[in-house]
Symmetry: none
Subunit: 209 residues, 2 copies
């Protein structure tokens, strides 16, 4: 990336501000007006440079087809149900992420969610998970996984006990050690056949007010 001229920086800043304020990108002539430039060709000229240098992308022949890569992305995470001790957690279906508009969603940032796919959220019902430092009403961020690595925090369904619990998982031979988040508490050892991994916990969010 080459250094940008003052004009180019001005244009780039204007585009970002415009998108922030209006919600859609500016036209060439919006930029002309906003940057005190007297010709559309000047803007076009500089936009070409900005595009070549990778500062933005343009859709040709498309009005307002200027795309400033967002500094960071928002992520819409579907809130698909509740997690409680006595019942298996809801499983996201294939179209859960398609019609986000329909259900309830949580808007988070990429900083929290990462670039992961298959992330969904569950609301905690009941006080049964305080040993995982999770309170009634907390939001648990889950990732849909078929398998988990040792040390992952997971939601497991204990078949015999008929219970969901949130623990860090360590395989030890044919049994599994489930370590509570609260490391002052004792781990739970269960038979490997008794645990069914329902998803990986990637975060917990609590709003106290």
């Amino acid at each position: 990336m080459k250094d940008l001229s003052a004009r180019q920086q001005q244009i780039l800043a204007f585009i970002r501000r415009f998108v922030g304020e209006r919600g859609y990108p500016p036209t060439i002539r919006d930029i002309v007006a906003g940057c005190d430039i007297s010709s559309t060709s000047v803007v076009d000229y500089n936009l070409r440079i900005l595009e070549r240098e990778g500062y933005l992308r343009r859709d040709p022949e498309v009005s307002r087809g200027i795309l400033c890569p967002r500094p960071s992305g928002r992520r819409l995470v579907p809130l698909i149900g509740y997690i409680a001790a006595g019942e298996p957690i809801p499983v996201p279906s294939a179209d859960t992420w398609d019609n986000l508009a329909a259900g309830e969603t949580l808007e988070l940032t990429e900083e929290l969610v990462g670039a992961r796919e298959g992330v969904y959220a569950l609301k905690v019902k009941g006080d049964s998970m305080v040993d995982a430092l999770v309170n009634d009403g907390d939001i648990v961020l889950m990732q849909q996984v078929s398998t988990a690595n040792d040390g992952d925090m997971v939601a497991v369904w204990l078949k015999v006990e008929r219970e969901v619990t949130l623990k860090r998982l360590y395989r030890e031979g044919n049994r599994v050690r489930l370590q509570p988040a609260n490391n002052q508490m004792q781990p739970l050892y269960v038979d490997a056949a008794n645990v069914e991994i329902q998803g990986r916990v990637i975060g917990v969010i609590r709003q106290t007010v």
Copy 2:
């Protein structure tokens, strides 16, 4: 808000998807193509209804001037230090929110932070706050306040014990009841003169991976 017809829901979903994929709103004719509609007037007709019912906003005579109200905006929250049992928490200074770029920041959404002013974040050091269901490494979202209401979750400095703790605060005469988040635990009663409110806790964020 009236119920939307199938067509209107279809159009609304298409707009959201389009904005998500392309980064700018669709034109009327984009919607015509995307929803298998045979005339721009049909789209215009339905957009008018959607606007009247408050589902979107239109900038007249502006290409792609369709605005689906974003559920919320981004918020940059400064991460100004650590919170641990044995030491008072860092206090945000006047310019903490001015040069956000300088220090470390957390990017969150308005859905989490709200429209509040004076929000900052602290990282939890140590296991001393598990009784507040807060783990080592968790992020505590704080709001700078001079006073707190009964029932607020606050960070208080206990002068005698020289200790920070996170509890819900209830004034009871000249003593204060400090109620742990984990409501299976017993409250702590202390002298009102012994507590110094350092900030209000508005949330907790834990990332487990």
